[in-house]
Symmetry: C2
Amino acid sequence: MRKVAVAGVGLVKVSEHWEKPIWGLFADAALQAVKDAGSDDVDSLYVGNMSGSLMQDQLNMGALMADALARPGLHAVRVEAGSASGGVAFHEAVKAVASGYSDCALVAGVEKMSDVLPEVAAKSLVMEEEQEYSAYTGVTRAGLSAMLHRLYMDLYSEPAEVGMMAVQSHENAVGCRHAQYPFRMSIERAMDSPMEADPIHMMECAGVGDGAAAVVLVPADAAGVEVAATAVATDYCSLAMREDPLTLGAVMKAAEKAYRMADVKPGDIDLAEVHDDYTINGVLSLESLGLVEAGKAAKLVAEGGAARDGSIPTNTFGGLKARGNPLGATGVYQVAEVALQLRGSAGDHQVEGAEVGLAQNMGGMGSTCAVTILRRLAP
Amino acid sequence: MRKVAVAGVGLVKVSEHWEKPIWGLFADAALQAVKDAGSDDVDSLYVGNMSGSLMQDQLNMGALMADALARPGLHAVRVEAGSASGGVAFHEAVKAVASGYSDCALVAGVEKMSDVLPEVAAKSLVMEEEQEYSAYTGVTRAGLSAMLHRLYMDLYSEPAEVGMMAVQSHENAVGCRHAQYPFRMSIERAMDSPMEADPIHMMECAGVGDGAAAVVLVPADAAGVEVAATAVATDYCSLAMREDPLTLGAVMKAAEKAYRMADVKPGDIDLAEVHDDYTINGVLSLESLGLVEAGKAAKLVAEGGAARDGSIPTNTFGGLKARGNPLGATGVYQVAEVALQLRGSAGDHQVEGAEVGLAQNMGGMGSTCAVTILRRLAP
């Protein structure tokens, strides 16, 4: 198996891009990444997109995006795994280069959500859940997350502690040029915001945004940022089927596989980008990744442990809450951000001395998870 | 790069399966394939599905299908490339095994179309085309195919010659247990059927059906059916952008790549499963694959060249027209059928002495194409 490296990254600011079609957003990120990689020898394209079929009535997005690059002929495919589409697309592209089928793979996550009504965006999230057993009840993703949030508080935590996950993400996003909400937010503002689904406040939820992120993958050289491991795992779709709903089985399994493959321990991780679409999911992710003991992540975050100088720097550019969560693009943003950190190009967001970073991207209520570990190779 | 083999296949009859949910169809094919392979060591799952997001409101189908196998934890992902979803899912799964990431990959194509109104099925096909430049005009896939059909007739052929593609597919399907329409059809019946989009008659179009097909992939051994090559390519989505609309650029490029990789020539192909969603597309596919000279495929088919004892046995179980075309499942049916032929397990459909077979699966108006070449290894 060939080793694989991240050779270039491209990031579009998560925002309302009314003037751009979805392929325009894609092209912006893709061309940035190709330029950053210093090569346009791309021979395969992996597109992470979740809701284009609902929001743009668009299928077959691989071919459409090859078109946008004026590269008809290119190997192109769309990978969909709900909100984990970006992370899983990255994973599959790594296999393409690892196998020798591709010598230069472009992975792009793209989503355009501003065009649709809020109820359509809400519907898209429920489409990640089982239609026959969960969605038909009328429950929303916020509602499902609220059940976990309530259970977590009953067992371990105060509301404001879980909410600090959002406060910390906003703090980390300040000054980030590709972040949707690069401003500070107090815990009071979060706790005073309206209830989205009790006990989840509006300001604990990631928003709706348009975005695209891209990375270029090549066979690994002696230097650069290596893909030390990437793994995908699933869990029962229905929360009711899980032995312990506060344990994200897919996250745990993907992480175990990735740690083994990269030959690292959770303690070796210098920074993590985790899937905080709701504050509780960010908290549970830190725990299921093995980065924090079960029941202690909210407290750790509240005490500053997730800050850039904390014990486990987390969501260093703002995470889903403040950088933004354009669904199928999110997983690629995460990987690109980790790559920037390991290259030492994270500017004001730099985690000093970062050598090993992790990105964790979830689909559904954790029914799919992609975990990627990147490592800085000696220069 | 490890060599990869097809170790097992599973096929559900294409039909109206009102009593089964989409995951039930999937499970039927998947369990057959696993049993056929004689191993349940599956460690990754690739789901080819095109229109579940429209027809079942279901995303994140990788996790859902892992659930259906009672295998939470499994690596699972949905691959979508329009009607080429099945063929492209197969291609990506081959990379998983070739790279060493997977030692036993299950690829399943599944689609459930009977649940929806005919206009929704028609909409799903147009969702493979560019929404901003093609679909917005109101043109249907039949309408787009009709333009190619008209041009082909103007240059090369009589209506009844192109229509013979459907007649031959029906002839080949007789007795096939997994075929939707396993009966003979005369050219008169085809030519007397109502116009779908002039000059395409209703009986020249593949129908609507529910189906699932699965194959199990493992590292290749000394014997069995080897994946000699698999390639994916794209073309301009819009017909108007193509230099010659009768040349399917994606088919040609994927085929050239596959022939090179397998080290075979078109003349070495003993049988082909081609994408005859409309008769004209089957005809053009034979030509763009290089199996028949440009402008001569309709004549060749009309003269019996596509029969099991013809010069290029084509759609040996009935193709999209008669075996059925459950969209995202179709490409996996094709590969499974080629594997059955090379194993010598094709029963009444057997092409004698078949050693090398090809499957060609298209998305959109040929904007995406997957070509796979399988080869029988010495026993």
